[in-house]
């Protein structure tokens, strides 16, 4: 108990509380700008943490990342441009809701269920850290392969267009992920001797290009749409409680999936959102409503990506193994502040650990008032003339991606993918599926090749390790399900 009192004492310092507040505002702004991801928000904070006390330093990272993942939903819902990759999975859904005249509902869902998801993730960190960490340590490359493969299959589930076009887009994404030398053999592929291409195509510039720049190009090609009838933005939280009661199952499922994916090394909030959105669709009683502005998928995926944030800290704190790209940076800061990750952190520095939990809870609670202010401010873009918004978006994309890699090559990448995204959309190929291919491509290849090297080319370990076997069964079932369903339907038709 004394640890808990001490922890409150650590958190209730002016510098820590100020750090939480400022980092939250910062995270909200950065997350809502296309081209600046939650990871980027945290990376930019690293130099500042140098000058802060240990608890304040960790507080900035926790608050900024939680806010950024939520506020990535804002431009997604208002402009169909996801602010971070974690929002890409359900951007179309949220935007459809805005077109239906319910932007406050879409954004309210993002805010409310993000906060609940974040708190659920924190509880998992507090109560289940040791068993979750042991689960993470059971994941070898074999299990990672199945996980990445399952992630790839979400492409067809999420897309509203024909599955064939979704698969084609995803394969294009996989091809893009081949560029560079970060492959198991360390061999340059498709680099043409250009140094910048050695680093490969990063997810952020590609994402910004296919979503934001192509959206601007579409706007240039078409006449200004009829203005949405002017009206006051309604209450943001009003219907959330009803939705919470109505969609208990998707929400709980989203939290659990988010927690599990967050704990696993190499998979983070992006993948959590994809998997949860497609699970929501698969298990929904009304899958046909998905993509038309239906809250179910938003609830599940919005809860999931924020839940994964907190649980990503479990392996980071216990073993210094990052659960996602954000905790990879956080581990460096923990070391720098003398909070060396490891089991001793939980025993010898228990008060610091409790302080960390308290910060997580505070961050997820103040997300609600700050988020409401942010939504109200951001909603003005709906009333601004398109000719004013679009150039600003292009400018933000260029500045944001330049900051990501500190080089102009990223800006060129954005431009190139803008054109690619535009052409794809014109022809009915979903760009989200391509982004998924780029995100998962490296993981699929790495885990497959390294697994086969470990097993001397045998595929048996993909099936005879217990966790791998379960994942393999899930993957194969998901693969065969559409075939079986189709076969069943045609048989019934035939017997009639």
């Amino acid at each position: 108990m004394s640890n808990l009192t001490q922890a409150f004492h650590l958190v209730l310092q002016t510098d820590v509380l100020l750090a939480i507040l400022l980092a939250s505002i910062y995270g909200l702004v950065v997350g809502s700008l296309p081209g600046l991801s939650a990871t980027m928000a945290v990376a930019l904070l690293v130099p500042i943490t140098f000058y802060l006390s240990p608890i304040a330093a960790i507080a900035t990272i926790i608050s900024a990342s939680a806010m950024a993942i939520f506020s990535g939903d804002i431009p997604g819902a208002l402009l169909r441009i996801p602010g971070t990759p974690a929002s890409a999975a359900y951007t179309d859904e949220a935007y459809a809701m805005t077109r239906k005249g319910q932007p406050e509902l879409a954004l309210g869902i993002g805010l409310w269920f993000s906060a609940l998801g974040g708190i659920a993730g924190t509880l998992s960190l507090m109560l289940l850290a040791p068993p979750l960490a042991d689960m993470a340590l059971n994941f070898s490359t074999y299990e990672n392969f199945w996980l990445a493969f399952l992630g790839l299959m979400c492409a067809t589930l999420v897309a509203r267009s024909s599955p064939v076009k979704a698969i084609a887009s995803m394969l294009l994404g996989l091809l893009v992920s081949c560029i560079g030398i970060e492959n198991p053999a360390g061999t340059p592929r498709f680099t043409f001797g250009v140094t910048d291409l050695f680093g490969g195509i990063e997810v952020i510039p590609a994402l910004v290009g296919v979503f934001a720049v192509s959206e601007v190009m579409r706007a240039m090609m078409s006449a200004e749409p009829p203005k949405m009838p002017f009206r006051r933005f309604g209450s943001i939280l009003k219907s959330q409680w009803t939705l919470t009661k109505q969609y208990v199952k998707p929400q709980v499922r989203g939290n659990i999936v988010g927690i599990i994916i967050g704990v696993l090394p190499g998979a983070g909030a992006d993948m959590a959102a994809w998997v949860s959105y497609s699970m929501a669709k698969r298990f929904s009683k009304t899958p046909e409503k998905f993509g038309t502005g239906h809250p179910e998928g938003l609830i599940e995926a919005g809860a999931s990506n924020n839940a994964s944030l907190a649980s990503g800290w479990v392996p980071a704190l216990l073993f210094a193994i990052p659960g996602d790209t954000i905790t990879a940076i956080a581990i460096g800061v923990l070391y720098m502040k003398g909070l060396n990750p490891g089991p001793t952190l939980f025993t010898e520095q228990a008060s610091s650990m409790y302080a960390l939990y308290i910060i997580f809870i505070i961050a997820n609670i103040i997300m609600i008032p700050l988020g409401i202010i942010m939504i109200r401010v951001a909603s003005r873009v709906l009333r601004a003339p398109r000719s004013a918004i679009m150039p600003v978006i292009v400018l933000m994309c260029a500045v944001g991606t330049f900051a990501t890699g500190n080089n102009l090559f990223a800006v060129m990448t954005v431009a190139a993918f803008g054109v690619i995204g535009y052409v794809m959309e014109r022809n009915g190929f979903p760009v989200a599926a391509m982004v998924l291919g780029i995100i998962m491509g490296t993981m699929v290849e790495q885990s497959l090749v390294t697994s086969l090297m470990k097993s001397d080319g045998s595929i048996i370990p993909f099936f005879n390790r217990p966790v791998a076997a379960v994942l393999a069964a899930m993957t194969i079932a998901a693969l065969l399900w559409p075939v079986a369903a189709w076969g069943w339907r045609s048989m019934r038709v035939a017997t009639r």
């Binding site: 505002i25 140098f50 070898s140 140094t195 900051a403």
Partner: protein, 330 residues
């Protein structure tokens, strides 16, 4: 905080642009340094090299009385950032932290850059590899592990620590060669660095991992892995009970990942001297030493001349090791 970070980013970008505009002609008549300095780090924020760059930048800032901004130019396993350092104008306003990879990548044909593509300033750190096994592994000493490796069929045992041809791969190759075995007697599984390798070791996917002991620390302390030996001349003071390879097996093989500071080639010798002197004061500062001790990183010092010699010798040794391992091109 929002405005501040964004301003810093813009300032970093602005500094780059200004440096490019001014070109090779430093502002004569003004005492160096007259404006902020950019320090390029070829590895991502949050990693060991980034941390080293940032602590050095923080202390160097006090020495030079000018801000030192760390800019991460990542990607391509270090190629992109190392190229950016070499291509910057040699006016003393763009410096870089260079890592052991600079003496390896050109042998693989990945870049034209070699250690002598830079103006060396100072060597600050070196970390030797340790040999780690799973906690439930039957091998209690490095001798037992070595005997098991010798008795095992070619390629049946698996190791990792980093990607193909990375520094920890070369460390394993060097150890195998020193034992009179083939360089690929233990198969290397390329993984994305030390943390994923240690995780796979704990998950039971690998037989051993060669990476520095600080990188393996958390998993060892969690009781999931053991460190059997370090490939260094001396034990690591932070891990006193891990013997050196020489103590345990009588094999005198040392290796290590190092980090040093350089400027683009063609830097004014006066400025270079001033920077080396400032870096020496950083190397002896309490702040730097405390930080390195807390992380378990090895502190090393060599001035410009010593660093050049160190890189040259390391470069030749790497060439021999990489050719033996079949990793070198041409």
């Amino acid at each position: 905080m929002t405005t501040r970070t964004r301003r810093e980013v813009l300032a970093g970008g602005g500094a780059l642009a200004a440096a490019a505009a001014i070109g090779a002609g430093p502002a004569f008549g003004q005492a160096y340094p007259a404006r902020p300095i950019t320090l390029i780090c070829p590895w991502a924020a949050g990693g060991g090299t980034d941390a080293t760059a940032r602590i050095v930048a923080a202390v160097l800032e006090k020495e030079l009385k000018q801000p030192v901004n760390v800019v991460n130019r990542t990607g391509g396993s270090g190629v992109v950032g190392h190229a950016a350092i070499a291509a910057a104008p040699p006016d003393g306003y763009t410096l870089g932290i260079v890592t052991v990879e600079i003496s390896m990548m050109h042998w693989q044909g990945l870049t034209e850059l070699k250690p002598d593509s830079y103006t060396p300033l100072a060597l600050m750190n070196e970390d030797p590899p340790g040999i780690q096994v799973n906690a439930s592994s039957p091998y209690k000493t490095v001798k037992e592990l070595a005997d098991a490796i010798k008795a095992s069929p070619h390629g049946s045992m698996k190791a990792s620590g980093t990607g193909q041809g990375g520094i920890w791969h070369l460390a394993l190759v060097g150890w195998l060669l020193a034992m009179g075995l083939k360089p690929d007697h233990v198969r290397w599984v390329p993984l994305n660095g030390a943390a994923p390798s240690m995780q796979d070791l704990a998950a039971g996917g690998l037989d051993l991992v060669t990476c520095s002991v600080p990188e393996a620390r958390a998993i060892i302390e969690a009781g999931k892995a053991r460190s059997l030996a370090v490939m260094a001349a001396e034990r690591n003071p932070a891990f006193k009970d891990v013997p050196t390879l020489k103590e345990a097996m009588g094999i005198d093989y040392n290796s290590g990942a190092w980090r040093g500071f350089t400027a683009p080639k063609g830097l004014n010798p006066e400025i270079a001297k001033q920077l080396t002197a400032a870096l020496q004061r950083v190397n002896q500062s309490k702040e730097f030493l405390d930080f390195m001790a807390a992380r378990g990183f090895g502190v090393k010092w060599a001035d410009a001349e010593g660093f050049a010699k160190f890189m040259d010798e390391g470069n030749k040794a790497m060439g021999v090791a990489m050719k033996a391992a079949g990793l070198a091109k041409g």
